[in-house]
């Protein structure tokens, strides 16, 4: 291969990453669900004809990305590439063929060049409503959790499958938004396909095979060379989650080998009867993400760069839920996996991992109106979810981040925007003093949120919160972050369950105290100027400063 070809392939790789980024940006601009357009709960990528992911948009959230990577193979198994036609779009929300719960739609679209199919574009988005019980842990099987869409064609050579759209609209509380979202997902794949065809014309390419091989070889080689920088061996770790009916233990043993990293989840708790179970693709997604952040953060995500990370997830454990177990809020357990992976990696590279963080999002699904209060309703029907986060874990050289999503890649909505789409009032949303785990570097602070319906009407929360009884742990001498708290603003400080559907009575506010991140290293060795700053800022009370830091 000559030098010019070598340089061109690098340029084409860059271009491909730009193409999928464009795909993701198109989705954000056209989507209807706030979850996509405001929160960025989505992913986008391009695949070769064998269903191997070649590039993935930087924009997006890890749980989707890596599980979507597996998804395209399932589409090809049902609809082989040779029968796909220009203008076709395929869709599913099957948790086991897509990204782990019914709220995520995955759309796959074939891309053509010179009349020949050359690759596939796929994307995933979290839509606001898919019927059923709504986002929450209460379902006892996936059938209760919403409308179940097997892999079907939603557009046939450019024509909308009206039967499909009829069924889709009928099954959702928000039919207009849902239909609009499907259009948006198809449009963004089309945008990617158009741009790909331009690149292929410019470089006179007739297939993506050579480029795919180049990307895969480079990525695999680079990932293996990063793995080779770790000491060989085996380390294990364990995390406790609050669970639904009982606490859940997540266990992992990680072995670093020359040809990859193997993780065995033996010893992990069994399945829950409620929707906190995790389908295996989602478990692999967040586990890979956690390892990759530490081991090979610079290497772009694709089939080959994920290949060296191998997971063994025993059947019947909560991280390998079979159909039809309920899985709606699989994130509340799944998002603890990066902390678990870093627990294992601490045995190999203690100076490259973070302390545990709040990790699982604190996204309260709120509902009100007749669906909650029947004819006594005092507000219009509403259904809303916001994406909020506690503190992240302390880092070896830096404090954790305050009220920032990790490992999730989502953003939150402005309070003013939320109050414009639903009759709710946020009375408080600010940092939570004394919640950061102390350490040489401290954890990030959690938040306090206080929410009511307009006119103090009755409403409901379908709680999906964790790290309450089991706060984020510190590492290497650092203290734990503060555990979370869920309750009411009444004089008795009524405590609510961390998971499940509960009523906030008329006249009361829902109070959420989000966990702080764990600290790292001995708090007594912390720079005193930084302790002083937190005290001056009202984030650390003088008592806590004395107790934790000897200040």
């Amino acid at each position: 291969m000559d030098a010019m070809q070598a340089i061109n392939r690098q340029i084409q790789w860059n271009r491909l990453i730009a193409v999928v980024e464009e795909q993701a940006q198109t989705m954000i601009r056209t989507a209807f669900s706030t979850t996509v357009r405001e929160a960025g709960d989505l992913s986008a990528g391009i695949f070769d004809l064998q269903g191997r992911m070649m590039a993935q948009a930087v924009t997006g959230t890890p749980g989707h990305v890596n599980s979507m990577a597996e998804s395209v193979g399932h589409f090809l198994a049902k609809f082989p590439a040779h029968i796909m036609k220009p203008g076709d779009h395929y869709i599913t929300n099957d948790p086991w063929l897509g990204t782990g719960h019914l709220h995520d739609l995955t759309v796959v679209t074939p891309a053509f060049h010179d009349g020949k199919i050359i690759g596939l574009f796929a994307n995933t988005a979290h839509i606001i409503d898919i019927g059923g019980l709504g986002m929450g842990p209460e379902g006892r099987s996936v059938f209760e959790e919403g409308l179940y869409i097997p892999i079907v064609k939603c557009f046939d050579e450019g024509r909308a499958n009206e039967t499909f759209f009829d069924i889709l609209r009928a099954g959702s509380r928000t039919p207009v938004e849902l239909e609009g979202d499907v259009y948006s997902l198809c449009a963004c794949n089309d945008a990617g396909a158009r741009r790909l065809a331009e690149m292929m014309a410019e470089y006179r390419m007739d297939s993506l095979d050579d480029l795919a091989n180049f990307i895969f070889e480079s990525s695999l080689r680079a990932t293996l060379s990063e793995i080779a920088k770790l000491p060989l061996g085996r380390h294990s770790a364990e995390i406790r989650s609050d669970g639904y009916e009982a606490p859940v233990t997540l266990k992992a043993a990680m072995e670093v080998k020359e040809d990859g990293i193997e993780v065995d989840f033996a010893g992990t708790s069994g399945l829950s009867t409620r929707g906190i179970n995790v389908p295996p693709a989602y478990c692999r997604a967040y586990s890979c993400f956690g390892i990759k952040c530490v081991v090979a953060p610079e290497i772009p995500n694709n089939w080959a760069s994920l290949l060296p990370f191998r997971m063994s997830i025993p059947e019947g454990c909560i991280l390998n839920a079979p159909r039809p177990y309920p899985v709606s809020v699989r994130h509340v357990v799944g998002q603890l996996l990066p902390d678990l992976m870093m627990g294992c990696l601490e045995g190999f590279v203690p100076d490259r991992v973070n302390a545990e963080g709040s990790s699982a999002l604190w996204n309260p699904p709120l509902r009100g109106g007749a669906q909650v209060s029947g004819q006594a309703a005092e507000v219009d029907d509403f259904e809303i979810i916001t994406f909020n986060s506690g503190g992240t874990g302390a880092r070896p050289g830096k404090d954790g981040l305050d009220g920032i999503a990790f490992p999730s890649g989502v953003r939150t909505m402005p309070v003013e925007a939320t109050e414009n789409v639903a009759p709710v009032i946020f009375w408080r949303k600010e940092l939570r003093p004394d919640s950061a785990g102390p350490g040489r570097t401290r954890g990030g602070f959690g938040q306090i949120m206080e929410i009511s319906a307009k006119n103090d009407a009755e409403f409901a929360v379908n709680a999906i919160f964790d790290r309450v009884a089991n706060p984020p742990k510190g590492r290497q001498g650092g203290g734990n972050g503060a555990g979370g708290w869920v309750g009411l603003n009444d004089p008795n400080g009524t405590v609510l369950r961390t998971k499940g559907f509960q009523i906030v009575p008329k006249g009361r506010h829902l109070v959420l105290k989000l966990p702080g991140g764990g600290g790292m290293g001995d708090p007594r060795t912390r720079d005193r100027a930084l302790v002083e700053r937190d005290v001056a800022d009202g984030l650390l009370t003088p008592e806590a400063a004395r107790r934790e830091y000897g200040y």
Partner: protein, 697 residues
């Protein structure tokens, strides 16, 4: 007889550019320019020096000036270097940390060690007071005036120099903010107060508070600077009015600038875009891409029908390698452009996958690219261009700097060539291809986000690097016409001379089409038009003005608004249907198909009043003429094919209007070189601009 003498001064990071234009009658413009070093500690010194130099060149006195226009990066620098005032933020109780929490997200998914920008106001100076409005502006909790007064001793004790006030939903009902301002004025006379309902009256508390805090933060500094500058100019004998360039592309008075200094942040780049718009107008090019490549960044901006695109979102002081989301959000009228870390000084290296990466790290002025011979060992884009044969090492920058080819070769080989097994020439080609691709990608994204295409579009290339990289970037985005104007080295300052006196007012008013609030919208628009007109009237001296009204609309439930022009008069119920139809059409232009069954909502409105832009005389037709003889030939490597050949080098100053030279060749001038690739021809037009055209393949 000189009738009109205008002067423009643009303070940049390294240089302060001054341009002076004297008009004698309709047709005759004469221009003088000066470049002096920026004086960061007292920026007005540099400006005054530049003014002296240019007046001397023109043989004029300060008293001859009829208009002085100024743009500066001072506000931006204060934000980046955190050298603004000790600023407090008075805010709604329960929302003390809006500035710190932002949108609760990370701008990089995989980097565990990212830093987020520190809020301009530390938590101890973010002071909550009880008050609360709902989304309709109804008072849920009255403003606790005693609690506000109780903060005064804290503000005094902490020697607070500027105050921002940001209450939730204040853009709907500013009563609490105004009352707070009145109390603060009473208690703390002389301390400037910025209200979120005035600085950025739009929904989204983080962006609004951030903008308001930034305005307060730069206000004392800017007020004192503008005062010193004006005094200095008056002391020189200037009697002309002084105008400031706004980031939205219009001019405003000192009084408005001192009140809303945050609107000055991007004035330099805005000047560049106006410069391009003017060139486009001179040449009658209705669709162009302005491409300005300097030492550390490249800026691209789409200009249709001679007007740069407007936007209202902007990020300043990014902490994470120019990454979106790593800066402070500002919601002000700006010219929409994409800026990326790609310039002559951008450094190249191999990443862990053996891929060439270029920028955003830059060699800066010191040590500069390796070839400057000042100790730089990392290869910059300039080093790669040198190794491709694009520069004559003896005559770079007008011969003021002798380039060290050996140093470039060593830097490129060590950092890029060795790892890829490429000889220096090919490694240099790789670097330049990557940076060209990065810029082309930025241009593509910009077009996509604006739902525009490059078909039939021309590039206007300027800045030190624009004319060098223009051909290849054009090829990558499918453009076959490039214009390299003269005076490109001081483009922004020249742009200032072409800007209208203008002011944009943006306000939020939520309404749905199904129940359109005609009375409320008409009242709001009339109010906004009056406000914009009164600001413009301070500086237009009775000149004819135009008004443009825009509604930002979307399907109910969507997140991204589209701008739809409104008639500039009282709206009637018939208008509502036609505006809705215009929205559907505009939506379909962006996204192929409108969405069935959805109502449309309006989030906000904008009204811009501007003086009418002066007419441009059409460029004189010139007949083709043979080009000058080349001054020499150089061995140059073509980046599209990798081939090395002898390219002719021409001296731009030796070309006359109509002169044609054929690529591959290079047209050299003091400040830059215009590279004419294989398959391109270059002709000097009647204005002295170089026009490059690619022949159809």
């Amino acid at each position: 007889m000189v009738s009109d003498v205008r002067l423009a001064a643009d303070i940049g990071g390294t240089f302060t550019d001054v341009a002076l234009e004297a008009r004698t009658g309709e047709e005759h413009h004469q221009r003088w320019t000066a470049k002096v070093l920026t004086t960061p500690r007292a920026p007005e010194q540099g400006v005054l020096e530049g003014v002296r130099v240019v007046l001397e060149k023109a043989g004029l006195a300060a008293g001859d000036l009829s208009l002085v226009i100024h743009g500066t990066t001072l506000a931006t620098n204060a934000l980046i270097e955190r050298k603004g005032a000790r600023t407090a933020l008075i805010t709604t109780e329960g929302f003390r940390d809006v500035l710190a929490l932002g949108n609760e997200s990370r701008y990089d998914q995989y980097d565990l060690n990212i830093s987020l920008p520190e809020p301009l106001v530390p938590r101890r100076w973010r002071l909550p007071v009880p008050e609360r409005l709902d989304n309709t502006g109804k008072v849920l909790r009255p403003l606790d005036e005693a609690a506000l007064r109780a903060l005064v001793p804290v503000l005094r004790k902490e020697s607070i120099e500027a105050i921002a006030v940001g209450f939730l939903h204040a853009f709907v009902n500013p009563a609490h903010e105004r009352r707070a301002a009145a109390i603060l004025a009473e208690e703390l006379p002389g301390i400037p107060v910025s209200l979120s309902s005035e600085v950025s009256p739009e929904m989204r508390e983080w962006e609004r508070f951030s903008t308001t805090a930034a305005n307060a933060y730069v206000q004392p500094l800017m007020a004192s600077y503008l005062g010193r500058l004006e005094d200095g100019l008056r002391a020189m004998g200037m009697t002309a009015p002084l105008f400031l360039m706004l980031s939205g592309g219009g001019l405003t008075t000192i009084a408005t600038a001192a009140r809303f200094p945050i609107r000055l942040v991007e004035s330099g780049p805005a000047g560049g875009a106006i410069f391009s718009a003017h060139v486009a107008r001179q040449r009658g090019l209705s669709h162009v891409l302005s491409f300005d490549m300097g030492g550390t960044t490249a800026k691209v901006c789409l200009i249709d029908n001679f007007a740069p695109q407007a936007s209202r979102t902007f990020e300043v002081a990014r902490v994470g390698r120019f990454r979106k989301g790593s800066g402070l959000p500002l919601r002000i009228p700006v010219i929409e452009m994409v800026e990326i870390g790609a310039g002559g000084g951008s450094l190249a290296h191999l990443d862990s996958l053996g891929r060439i990466q270029v920028g955003p790290e830059s060699a800066g002025a010191d040590p500069g690219p390796a070839c400057y011979g000042r100790g730089g060992t990392s290869p910059a884009v300039t080093d790669a261009n040198l190794l491709l044969g694009r520069y004559d090492p003896e005559s770079f920058a007008g011969g003021s700097l002798r380039l060290d080819v050996k140093a470039s070769e060593a830097a490129v080989t060590t950092n890029v060539g060795q790892g890829l097994g490429l000889e220096p020439g090919m490694a240099a080609l790789g670097i330049v291809e990557v940076v060209d691709e990065n810029m082309a990608n930025a241009a593509r994204v910009h077009a996509i986000e604006s739902a525009k295409s490059y078909e039939g579009r021309a590039i206007i290339a300027f800045g030190g690097g624009g004319p060098v990289h223009g051909c290849r970037v054009a090829e990558k985005i499918g453009v076959d016409r490039i214009l390299v104007p003269s005076g490109a080295g001081v483009g922004s300052a020249i742009g200032f001379l072409r800007a209208p006196v203008a002011y944009e007012v943006v306000r939020s008013l939520y309404t749905r089409f199904a129940s359109f609030d005609l009375v409320g919208v008409n009242a709001l628009l009339a109010d906004m038009a009056a406000e914009a007109s009164s600001v413009v009237a301070q500086g237009s001296f009775g000149a004819e003005t135009t008004e443009a009204r825009i509604a930002y609309m979307r399907y109910v439930g969507q997140g991204h608004e589209i701008a739809v022009p409104l008639p500039t008069r009282e709206l009637t119920s018939e208008d509502v249907a036609s505006i809705r139809a215009a929205y559907d059409a505009e939506y379909a232009r962006f996204y192929d198909r409108p969405v069935p069954g959805s109502d449309v909502e309006v989030l906000s409105f904008a009204v811009t009043v501007a003086t009418v832009i002066e007419k441009v005389l059409p460029a004189a037709e010139v007949t083709d003429a043979p080009g000058p003889a080349p001054i020499r030939t150089q061995r140059v490597r073509d980046t599209a094919s990798g081939q090395v050949a002898d390219w002719a080098i021409y001296d731009r100053t030796a070309m006359a209007p109509g002169a044609v030279v054929t690529g591959p060749c290079i047209v050299a001038e003091a400040e830059t070189s215009t590279l004419v690739g294989p398959g391109w021809t270059c002709r000097m037009d009647g204005l002295g601009y170089l026009e490059l055209v690619k022949e159809a393949a």
